[in-house]
């Protein structure tokens, strides 16, 4: 059993991700955030459970669906929302948009929107850590579709060869844009593809934050101490459309029944029930947590909207250094 403090921290982090994503969805159709948003709703247990086990100086690399990872690693919320609003104060100065968040101060090293593109880069960061004699772990998040890219195999093989301290986290959310897993892969278990390699592989219920946290507590300790790569599949479900604020049910690539079934496995809902049952949380405390997070989100949106847009005179800067 996890300590109460840990449980509540995990809950707060998941809730923060959820509320930020919902707020983005609420405002997205105002067309002021002109950037394709890929919402993380339904997958919060993974980012929260993994990042709670990482040190600030550990590296995280992400993908187009990166909001949750950025928030879980402690990325600056103002700078994130400003980036979504295309502002000069955005974490990428309005150059990256939603898919290219970065906050070096907390080890969040950026996100590639080319599926699997960040996987070898994270592997290189792990190589650099070893070369420099640092005790750092690299973590990279990618989806089930990324496991279809050759570069993931190339990266993991190299990490195994060089014994790199990296954890490969495959969030199997069942869909790549509108394409279901069954159209793309012969088997629905990602981790099996990598079992033949000399690395440890795991498969977790990605909607159970206690499982994710507990497993990663051991996994990250192992990666750090034994300097070896690990592959972890976290089974989950993308509740929202690939991009935007709908669910995808309305256009028919998945059924309402399927969506409802996963809604019943909502990671926050499940966890909340546990917290209530164990009397670690009550309605009043929940309201306080939600209120406090919403206040921070209000501030972030206010900051973003008040921030200046990038100056056109800066268009060509930053290509080289």
């Amino acid at each position: 059993m996890l300590a109460k403090g840990t449980m509540i921290d995990l809950y707060k982090k998941m809730m923060e991700i959820r509320l930020v994503e919902q707020r983005i969805a609420d405002h997205y159709n105002e067309d002021e955030m002109r950037t394709p948003v890929h919402l993380y709703i339904g997958q919060e247990a993974i980012a929260a459970g993994v990042c709670a086990n990482l040190q600030k100086e550990d590296y995280v690399f992400s993908n187009h669906r990166n909001h949750g990872h950025y928030i879980a690693k402690g990325g600056d919320l103002n700078a994130m929302i400003a980036e979504l609003y295309n502002r000069a104060t955005g974490c990428s100065k309005g150059r990256g948009g939603s898919m290219h968040l970065i906050d070096l101060s907390v080890g969040f090293h950026g996100s590639s929107s080319i599926v699997a593109g960040g996987v070898p880069i994270a592997t290189g960061a792990a190589l650099a850590s070893v070369m420099k004699g640092e005790n750092r772990v690299s973590a990279v998040f990618f989806g089930d579709a990324a496991s279809e890219e050759g570069v993931v195999y190339e990266s993991i093989c190299f990490a195994a060869l060089k014994k790199l301290p990296i954890v490969y986290i495959c969030e199997n959310n069942q869909y790549s844009v509108c394409s279901p897993l069954k159209n793309r892969q012969a088997d629905n278990q990602m981790y099996k593809k990598f079992e033949g390699l000399p690395i440890k592989t795991y498969c977790l219920d990605g909607n159970n934050v206690i499982d994710v946290y507990t497993a990663f507590n051991k996994i990250i300790e192992d990666v750090r101490e034994k300097q070896q790569p690990v592959f972890v599949e976290c089974v989950t479900y993308r509740m929202m459309d690939h991009h935007g604020t709908k669910t995808g049910v309305e256009v028919g690539y998945r059924t309402q029944e399927e969506w409802d079934e996963w809604k019943g496995k909502d990671p926050i809902g499940i966890f909340e029930n546990i917290l209530y049952e164990q009397k670690l949380l009550d309605e009043k405390e929940k309201a306080e947590i939600v209120g406090s997070i919403n206040q921070r989100i209000d501030q972030a949106f206010e900051f973003a909207k008040k921030s200046p847009l990038p100056d056109i005179s800066q268009l060509c800067t930053g290509l080289f250094r």
Partner: protein
């Protein structure tokens, strides 16, 4: 920063025109010396690539460096070119200076995602707060039936992509100075060597030095026709120049040394004098380096031209293996001579 101490020099000795008493070494030895000195100067530098520690050592360029610097800093890699390019990028982002060697640029086609979608964009895409100091080095092949997939000169293709520096050395002196500049540079640099230039020898100072990017060099002065020759084509242009001089045509030969940035000013200065331009490239004519240089001249220096620009490159077909076809496929000194004569008619 250990690099700030290195002497930066623009002066060039043309191979075959060395002053007596100066130190003459081979092209691959010059490359190796640059790498050795970079490894000595900067602990962040490492060399990777398939075969960098093999008995041949990348045509001699990396020969036995692993014995001196250990297998952590000079190491063989699995093929996995795209993955390993990403690995180099990740290491660069987190404080290292990788130098990734490929026997042939043809293999870079397997790395396009990481070079074009990642390395070239990472700095701009994140508002310039990060940078990717990697060098990707490859050697263009030619001859001995290398055929379509082991002979491509693909530098022109990469010129299209913002965020990359493109370097095409010609002499041992330049190879060393440009490699040291590339490693010291904070951005992705692609160096395209040419296998036939590895036969060259030339003056190379022993101490480390850097050659600035975007500064071409006049290999031969002349008054009648300007020839911008890229990489190995400098050699063909020098041959052509000798023959042309016998016919009373005095050409000026410019070696741009880097294609991105390109020394347009040097080319313009020469055209003010000659009014005629031939561009000789090791790659295809269409959409490549010669096309880009011709476009830049047409755009910015049209007023100096008194004849249409001529381009010499390889035919727009894959490289054939048979030496009869191979000879016909490549641009050479005869093509340059013919073009110069036509311009002087």
């Amino acid at each position: 920063m250990p690099w700030t101490k290195i002497f930066s020099q623009n002066e060039i000795n043309i191979s075959g025109n060395e002053e007596v008493g100066k130190r003459i070494i081979s092209y691959p030895k010059a490359v190796r010396e640059a790498l050795k000195q970079a490894l000595e100067i900067d602990s962040r530098v490492f060399i990777m690539g398939q075969g960098v520690d093999d008995p041949g050592g990348m045509f001699g360029a990396t020969l036995d460096l692993h014995k001196e610097f250990g297998s952590q800093r000079v190491f063989d890699t699995p093929l996995s070119e795209n993955g390993l390019t990403g690995v180099a990028i990740g290491a660069a982002l987190t404080g290292m200076r990788p130098f990734y060697c490929h026997n042939r640029p043809d293999f870079l086609m397997l790395t396009m995602d990481q070079i074009v979608n990642h390395a070239s964009k990472w700095s701009y895409m994140f508002g310039g707060i990060v940078n990717v100091p990697i060098v990707i080095w490859s050697v263009v092949g030619r001859g001995w039936g290398s055929a379509a997939q082991h002979s491509q000169a693909l530098h022109g293709m990469f010129m299209h992509v913002p965020g990359l520096r493109i370097v095409v050395p010609t002499t041992p002196y330049d190879a060393k100075g440009l490699i040291l500049s590339a490693i010291a540079d904070n951005n992705p640099v692609l160096i395209f060597e040419h296998r036939w230039l590895f036969k060259q020898t030339g003056y190379v100072p022993e101490e480390p030095y850097m050659i600035p990017f975007g500064k071409g060099v006049v290999r031969k002065t002349g008054k009648d026709v300007t020839i911008v020759a890229i990489s190995y084509m400098v050699s063909e242009a020098m041959k052509a120049a000798e023959e042309l001089l016998k016919k009373g045509i005095d050409v000026e030969i410019i070696d741009p040394r880097t294609l991105k940035p390109l020394d347009e000013e040097l080319i313009a200065e020469s055209l003010k004098k000659t009014g005629k331009l031939i561009i000789a490239d090791t790659g295809w004519k269409t959409g490549g380096a010669a096309a880009e240089i011709a476009a830049a001249v047409a755009e910015h220096s049209f007023q100096y031209l008194n004849k249409p620009i001529k381009r010499i490159g390889s035919a727009d077909i894959p490289t054939p293996a048979s030496y009869v076809l191979e000879d016909a496929f490549y641009g050479n000194s005869s093509d340059i001579i013919r073009a110069a004569e036509e311009l002087m008619k």
